[in-house]
Amino acid sequence: MACEKDKTTFWASISIKALYNEKAEVIGFAKITRDLTDRQLAEKIILQHAQQIEHKNKELEQFVYIASHDLQEPLLNLTNFVELLQYEYGSLFDETANMYFDVISQGASRMRNLIRCLLDYSRLGQQAKLVRVDCQQLVETVISDLSVPIKASGAEIHFENLPILVGYATELHQLFQNLLSNAIKFRKPGVSPDIRITAEQTAEGWRFAVSDNGIGIAPEFKEKIFLIFQRLHEREAYEGNGIGLAHCKKL
């Protein structure tokens, strides 16, 4: 802390150095006072910004919570009660009325899907924790999540000996979910999807390959059907997912 002539104080960095004559006797001192006020101010502003960002992030988390719960529940009720109405009073309605009910239900379920996609998207950016991921088990979970379209399309999914690795479970889950649902969705008409998931170890990590007998993709992207990502590398796992989504878009 340094002192101005008018007795006000300010933060400073001070260095004092002894001055010598030829006989190495101390003849005085040199003092340099560097005013740190600006630096202090800058640091304070940075700190404030960091706090603001933290606050904003908390707000965002809250937003995600509201989206996941408070928006979903009324929609669920909408779907549930249309269903109940059809179940208990179905015989009282004619075809047109039932068509109206279907439209209501479809609208509600589309909305729920949109909310889910938004949530997925917001979770993607979050810094997830690295955990041990059993890919074999992960793919099994994805398959059970997708059981309805799998059954409907008669899809066969082959996978074995997928590795256990250290990675981001949610992102990996989304990645496989994207790829599998793409493979099921973009099948050739009249052909049941046949999907293969394989993994091989490379110098950089694990290389996963998901292939199907669907309608395929434009030749310029044909090479990119393989998604490569490294374990222990967040960016790469994230990019992998980005490719998966871009992949959806291109198709």
Partner: protein, 140 residues
């Protein structure tokens, strides 16, 4: 009506009364003979479980517990529940989650040894039947 041993009642805990109604209907549709009691908050749930007047003939064998509730949450319920005397406890607690996208809640449910499973809303009759099949013995 199908009857199961030690399964007299089901306690529904959800702040949304319509969800409780949907779940009550789903249970009715299974044709399983149970008394359904629905409450909308944690305090009422605990009061119901510990009530001295609660006859054994309606004592719940299953609790379906919502997690996201205003005030005391489903997790607060579990904290209080763990303190209860054994005689007030029930055989099966299942947490009901609104979305399939909250891994935190799912993981937390897995860690609690009193919670046997978590399900996603809405409860379906066939899912409830499965649950009963798994944990209760059928009576002739």
């Amino acid at each position: 009506m199908k009857k199961y041993k030690d399964l007299h009642g089901v306690l529904l805990v959800d702040d949304d009364k319509f969800t409780n109604l949907i779940h009550t209907k789903a249970i009715e549709r299974t044709g399983i003979d149970v008394q359904v009691k629905a409450v909308s908050n944690v305090k009422d749930a605990l009061d119901f479980l510990t009530s001295q007047q609660l006859a054994d003939s309606v004592r719940p064998g299953i609790i379906l517990l919502d997690i996201n509730m205003p005030g005391l949450s489903g997790w607060d319920f579990m904290t209080a529940y763990h303190q209860l005397e054994e005689k007030f406890k029930v055989k099966v607690i299942v947490t009901m989650l609104t979305t399939s996208l909250n891994p935190d809640d799912e993981n937390r449910a897995k860690l609690d040894n009193q919670i046997v499973s978590f399900l996603h809303k809405p409860l379906r009759p066939e899912i409830f039947s499965q649950l009963v099949e798994e944990y209760f013995e059928k009576e002739d």
